[in-house]
């Protein structure tokens, strides 16, 4: 007899939820422990905030002439980053994180053009030297940041892990990014809601998801208000400025990591993002800066 199990935990700086049907509490706890262990491992390896993480070691070696050895998983993430870079006209750039030094939370003044121009040379995925065996950031102060990829990837990994443990009905959510493990035992999808980017207590869309993933990107998570203007955390690597044009984008795709990068690329494309999404024929929900909602989910969603 299957019973639903619910786990709430914190990982990658976000509240997370794992919900699935299992035959026994013992099985459920085993699966939960495996999922948390795997996510923790990813966090330890790829968090910028941990001095001992692989990312911190790579960033620490920038410009020193020392290459950092990488494993197959990191290599695959680099390949994926490369693909995103190519597909986004170089807007999705995992080296753009250095800009956060200027746009960190809590500042009250806009950075100066000179500040921004001083940082721009340290950005550029094409400068990164990487191979299957190692990686090297050639300039002092360059930084690698998988922030826009790893959380979504972790959701995908967690879902496969559950499937490998015999879980066929379930859903995992890591800080708003959702991946379906499998439909509910009655064959129906899991109810999923998207919040209003400006009013987190209200939902703007609700639907059922049977398979695949939903990921979002927007200016609602982390932002600063400076002189009454909202500056989001999604930064254009070419201009150094936060992007403006769309408030939030949510995408449904087979994999959470793909949904997440599509959403981020759409945000980065700013005013051109909506048109770009429409040509892709993906299921999306997009909130423009004027509050207008464009919802293609109804046609696409299960």
């Amino acid at each position: 007899m299957l019973t639903v199990f619910n786990f709430a935990f914190k990982a990658m700086g976000s509240p997370c939820h794992l919900q699935f049907y299992a035959a026994s509490a013992q099985q459920a706890n085993g699966v939960y422990a495996a999922v948390v262990a795997r996510i923790t491992q990813l966090e330890q390896r790829y968090s910028r905030y941990r001095a001992d993480s692989l990312i911190s070691r790579i960033n620490g070696a920038a410009g020193t002439g020392v290459k950092t050895a990488i494993d197959a998983e990191t290599f695959a993430l680099l390949q994926y980053s490369e693909q995103c870079y190519q597909e986004s006209e170089h807007l999705f750039d995992v080296t753009s994180g250095v800009l956060r030094g200027l746009w960190h939370g809590g500042q009250t003044q806009l950075p100066t053009t000179a500040d921004i121009h001083a940082l721009l040379p340290r950005i550029g995925w094409e400068k990164v030297q990487w191979s299957r065996a190692d990686i090297y950031l050639p300039l002092v102060g360059m930084e690698l940041d998988f922030g826009g990829i790893v959380k979504e990837y972790a959701a995908d990994v967690a879902a496969s892990l559950c499937q490998q443990h015999g879980i066929h009905s379930g859903i995992i959510e890591l800080g708003g990014d959702v991946r379906i493990i499998g439909p509910m035992p009655n064959g129906r999808g899991w109810p999923v809601a998207i919040r209003d980017p400006r009013h987190p207590t209200k939902t703007v869309a609700q639907f059922e998801l049977k398979s695949g993933a939903l990921a979002s990107s927007g200016d609602y998570e982390r932002f600063q208000l400076i002189d009454g203007v909202r500056y989001g955390h999604i930064l254009n690597p070419k201009t150094g400025w936060p992007v403006a044009g769309l408030r939030a984008v949510s995408i449904v795709a087979d994999q959470c990591v793909v949904a997440g990068s599509l959403a981020t690329i759409a945000m980065l494309k700013a005013n051109a993002g909506l048109g770009w999404l429409q040509t892709l024929h993906v299921a999306f929900l997009c909130c423009k800066n004027n509050g207008q909602l464009i919802n293609s989910l109804k046609m696409g969603v299960k």
């Binding site: 597909e87 496969s160 994999q255 892709l280 969603v301």
Partner: protein
Amino acid sequence: MKKNKKHPLISRLSLAALALPGLMQDANAGRVEETYNGDFQYGHYAEGNQRMEVDIFETALSAPIGKSMTASINLVRDVISGASPRYNKANAQGDVKQTLSGASITEQRDAISSGLTYYFDKAALGFGGGFSRENDYTSRYVSTNASIDLNNKLTTLNFGASGAFDIIEPTGREIIEPDGTDFKSSKLRSKTSQQYLLGVSQVIDKNSLIQSNVTFGYHSGYLADPYKLVYFVDQGLNPDVRPGEKFQWAWLTQYVRHFQQFNSAALHTDYRFYTDDWGVNSHTVDLSWHQPIADGWQVIPRFRYYSQDKADFYQPFFGAGQQAQVYSSDYRLASFGALSGGIKLSKEFTQIKSLSQLKFQAGIEYYDHKSSYQLGGNGSGSFDDFSYYLLTASVNAKF
């Protein structure tokens, strides 16, 4: 959500994502696309000068069985009418004239074949067989092939073997063959064929791939054509007599290249060298350009050049005092070249009701066989020259 055809960008991102460890595609990993495929094709083949005409009707179906198998079945009906060359005669001035079969033949060929392919993680194994029936010809064949992916699926090795057993039973006549110094006749004769393939395909870079195959064929039994005759100036008409064995080798290289800057057009180039122990060497070059336009339209121009030199025992006719053990005047064993060119239009619709894809195609090809087109030679004489055109129209549905 129905698994609709994805935008190439999404497919590329998904492919990159699937390279991440521990990521699997929603419980449908494996190479078999879980789609049912139905095809219908009509072809009209017509040779110039009121020679042969063939109408071809073909249906093909393929369906997944479980997660890692695909089964397919293929039915063909050819309706053939017209005349074909029988022998050549020389007049007093030495000019060669071709004589066609007198009565117009109308006959039908029906063929059925089916296959089963099993996909492993890094390999595939296929088996197939078929049966083809005409009123004077029956063919049965079996085949097997295997492919193995190496080197992160950048390299694929292909192996194949097939065998065929054919029975020839001419209508309204007997098969005449030499028997010592005399001739013997029989109602039916048979031949067996086998072919082996060894090939490798290699992804060169993100825009190109190459495949190279070597095939070896061996045929034995009655390899002549019971309807063909050979004119000897001294003796008159004799039956077509060929060796009882044939060894063939072919080496094919195919190169396919993608051109992003031309709206994802693809260039296909094939080159084949062929040689057999009857003395025929041949070169074939086949080029096609697949140009996507917009809204699922594609235009595909094609060009092909073929050249062969004659079999050792071929002559248009045999002159006074000429003797031979084996001899043929079949135009297919002569020296000649052929130029052909064609164009095909294709239109693809996606997401129509329950169908995930519907594709219509129509094409025309013109083929010109001329002795003077032979590479580095002037052929066996222009009396054999002919041309044909081939019209095709097909519909494919995936659901």
